[in-house]
Amino acid sequence: MTTTTTTSAGSAAAAADGPTGTGSLGTKVLGGLSLVAIALAVVYGLFISAPDAQLGETIRIIYMHVPTVLAAYVAFIITAVSSAMYLWKRNEFWDLLGSSSAEIGVLFFAVTIIDGALWGKVTWGVFWRWEPRLTTSAVLLIMYIGYLAVRAIPADARTRATRCSIVGLVAVVNIPIVHKAVDWWRGLHQGRTVLSTIDPEMDGTQLFAMYTSLVAGLLVFAWLLVHRFRTAYLAERAADLGLDTALAERRLEGSPATSDTSHTPTNTGAAS
């Protein structure tokens, strides 16, 4: 108990010296740039850009749909690269980077599917159709939710990281399948947009809205990734600290000197 009290007091004192969260000058700059890009995307995407000749006003949903899917793809690719690096180097950095990126990727991809469903309701008359692009997208999302589920299975850090790295490498194979689904099979979804040239017939303001949305999406993703990585790192250090404290307490309980004096008034006073 004395050890716990000392550790808590030490942590509280140490907490006052360092940063009070996961922010730094770099994240502040990144966050500021993200806000500027978001502001431009909102102004151009919702108010200035003209309706599309084919899509009409629904192009404004695409300004959200495309950046979120691009950010999700980038996130999942980072997870795959980190997974490979972890299996090679066995370094905690790669494990935390991969898992942080996967979590953000799931968020962005879920939003992509919701935005796509809203666009589908306006354009096709239904929120969802089991057509190739949508079906493969659903499978991709489920695979990465599976990645997060595997991460939540209780295990030591090394086993957990190895399991997740394998899932991270398997799941990424689905990205080219999702991407090429519109070419390989006949479906309702329009042709590829991400990783291909954006429609050259788009109006200038539409192009600007699309590109600022893409930049905003990637900046927000980068900002989130830094914060999420640092949070994951802190969680690991806190877990180590908890383990150290528990071990110290166990040693104290086990030592003869402590056992003999454990019920004396002096010791009770020190613990409190």
């Binding site: 030490g10 942590s11 509280a12 140490a14 907490a15 006052a16 010296d17 360092g18 940063p19 009070t20 969260g21 996961t22 922010g23 730094s24 770099g26 994240t27 978001i38 909102v42 995407g45 919702l46 009409g56 006003e57 629904t58 404004r60 949903i61 959200m64 749909h65 979120t68 953000i104 968020l107 962005f108 879920a110 939003v111 919701i114 935005d115 809203l118 666009w119 309701k121 306006v122 927000v220 900002w223 989130l224 914060h227 999420r228 640092r230 949070t231 790192y233 802190l234 969680a235 250090r237 806190a238 600290l241």
Partner: protein, 42 residues
């Protein structure tokens, strides 16, 4: 149609903002536990 457009933007920004707030809050909570020498950011 306007409702769907607003919903798409609101869901996108709302969910990302909620997630960001949760991550930042968790980071601040953990920072109180972890000693300063183990959380020196670049």
């Amino acid at each position: 149609m306007t409702g769907y457009i607003i919903a798409a933007w609101a869901i996108t920004f709302g969910s990302v903002a909620a997630y960001a707030a949760a991550v930042i809050r968790r980071g601040r909570r953990l920072s109180k536990v972890v000693p300063a020498d183990q959380r020196r950011w670049m």
